[in-house]
Symmetry: C2
Subunit: 342 residues, 2 copies
């Protein structure tokens, strides 16, 4: 379906007006505000056409028009130009990242906060499960008598740890040796591929250390089990309090509940996902719970699996800004990866 220039102008005007006012927009407003040099009556005719085509709808006969989801879709597909981040905003983002670069978790939440703050929507970042991370280093550190700490470092500089029991006979040097064994055998492997069997060959020659190795492997299993799912980080959930479409308490609760409940979003974001910015508008979302919301998201490449990030907001969303921001942030994330983690 192709629209002539004037219809496109009118559709865009209505969208931009509606997105910021949240009110139906009338023909006069359009005719006046934008110098289209046509009268309100003409606009009315065009609007009637646009409505018939499904791009606009009327809440009731004597109200102005609002863009339909189809209308938004047309705009997003055929007219929108992404507003990527400006230099100051990029600078701010890099500053935020740098301040939190020491701790990958902090980096992520820093980026999430930024995303939420700049767009004024709720942001989400989905971090691939550590089972896809690469094993980089293991160290068994003696603690109080009979206890030691297994420390595992992954490609992102993520530290995982778990306390294990060790026989009293085991000395510091033994622990060091065990660490060396792990490092030799597993370095560079994905965490989930650290198989017990790989150790079988060497384990025999270290009798009394067997128990420690077993316990360490068990600890790793338990760590993987504990963080087997992709991690979801949400920021700015409260931004939706500002959207008039959620003044209804029940709707508000439902949405906030989804955002706050751990991992709920994971099942809602589309599974397969490319690197380009993708947009799901309202009922385009397969998940029932967010059929009144829109998603703007993209994938980002880490070492192994793809991560996901984006914003979630009302259908009446500043798609141009959101899409541009998501795109910029994705670029920055991948840049960060190159710079700091390789």
């Amino acid at each position: 379906m192709t629209l002539n220039e004037r219809k496109r102008k009118i559709l865009e005007s209505i969208i931009r007006d509606y997105v910021c006012s949240a009110e139906p927009v009338g023909s006069r407003a359009i005719a006046k505000r934008y110098d289209l040099k046509i009268s309100a009556a003409t606009v009315r005719n065009e609007m009637a056409d646009l409505e018939e085509m499904g791009y606009l709808e009327q809440p009731h006969t004597s109200a102005g028009r609002i863009p339909s989801e189809t209308g938004f879709r047309y705009y997003v597909d055929c007219m929108m130009e992404k507003e990527v981040l400006g230099d100051e905003e990029l600078d701010l983002l890099y500053k935020v990242v740098k301040e939190n670069i020491q701790e990958w978790n902090d980096t992520v939440s820093g980026i999430g906060n930024f995303l939420a703050q700049v767009t004024n929507y709720a942001s989400f970042i989905i971090v691939p499960s550590i089972k896809f991370s690469e094993f980089k280093h293991l160290q068994v550190v003696p603690m109080e008598a009979g206890k030691a700490m297994v420390l595992i470092v992954t490609d992102l500089g993520l530290i995982m740890h778990r306390k294990i029991d060790i026989p009293n006979a085991v000395k510091q040097e033994d622990l060091q040796i065990i660490g060396d064994v792990f490092n030799r055998v597993f370095r560079g492997k994905k965490m989930e591929d650290m198989r017990r069997s790989d150790l079988q060959t060497i384990r025999d020659d270290l009798r009394k250390r067997k128990k420690v190795i077993d316990n360490a492997l068990e600890a790793i299993d338990s760590l993987l089990q504990n963080s087997g799912e992709d991690r979801v980080v949400i920021s700015g959930a409260l931004n939706i309090l500002n959207e008039p479409e959620f003044k209804d308490m029940e709707k508000l609760k439902a949405i906030l509940r989804i955002l706050e409940t751990d991992g709920q979003l994971r099942d809602i974001i589309p599974d397969k996902i490319g690197e380009e910015v993708d947009i799901k508008i309202g009922k385009e979302n397969p998940a029932e719970e967010i059929k009144e919301m829109s998603l703007v998201f993209a994938g980002y490449k880490t070492f192994g699996e793809m991560g996901k990030m984006g914003v979630i907001g009302p259908v009446r969303m500043e798609y141009w800004k959101a899409a541009g921001t998501v795109e910029s942030v994705r670029t920055v994330i991948e840049d960060i990866f190159k710079k700091y983690f390789s």
Copy 2:
């Protein structure tokens, strides 16, 4: 001010009614529901007295009465019996703790969730800054060329880490030695008391390792700086969505903002705090932002500093349940400390 038995009964009835219905309660309801064997008119007289004494108030002339904050205070001080946790609830709590005992952060949020879920209010747990923790162990682990990871274990089994640069000349054994030095000198000290000067004496004999020690100390400084404030963990903030007193969007926003904004609560909870359960009702709170809310909280003893925990909810709160739960949970926390961290 002392009340006769009947007045006390009536006050209590009104409180229990009002707390669960959120509506002013009238004389008939009281006379009927509770078998006080007195008529509504009598109740009315008593209620008039109670109002004059300041324990009740009337939203408007033709409405029932609601307890004033003074009324709640009287109830809490002179009549309330705490409803501590039952066995099933305690079992659940211990189960939650056990499942999350591996990671102190998880333990805390587990307990927080429990507290919020059982009371139906928002819960908070304030964990003393790690600078009050005891240094237990340090290890410098070599990473990629020119880099190493400083790992610090504290009394709670908390692991902190930071990457540092190391000269290429430094070998694995050197790192081990440096770790040993730290462990010898600092073991058992409070993190904030780890003074550079303590290392002065020994540093001279390790020429090429000087740089590493400096970097490690710097890393520690930066870690302490980063987590210098007590950590605040909030759970169940969304519970306040259910309270009718916050149906007003603006109030709701204000409260949620406080709960979600990192550390905001820290400045709101009273500073000095004992181990007993304490209650602040509405305007008793010094902080302007929560003059319409009540706090029920207690301190818990860790190794060093006192931690704080409790719930925050509307003035119309089930104080008996909240206070009992907070008390029970405090006991459990201290029990956990004894069992797992000493």
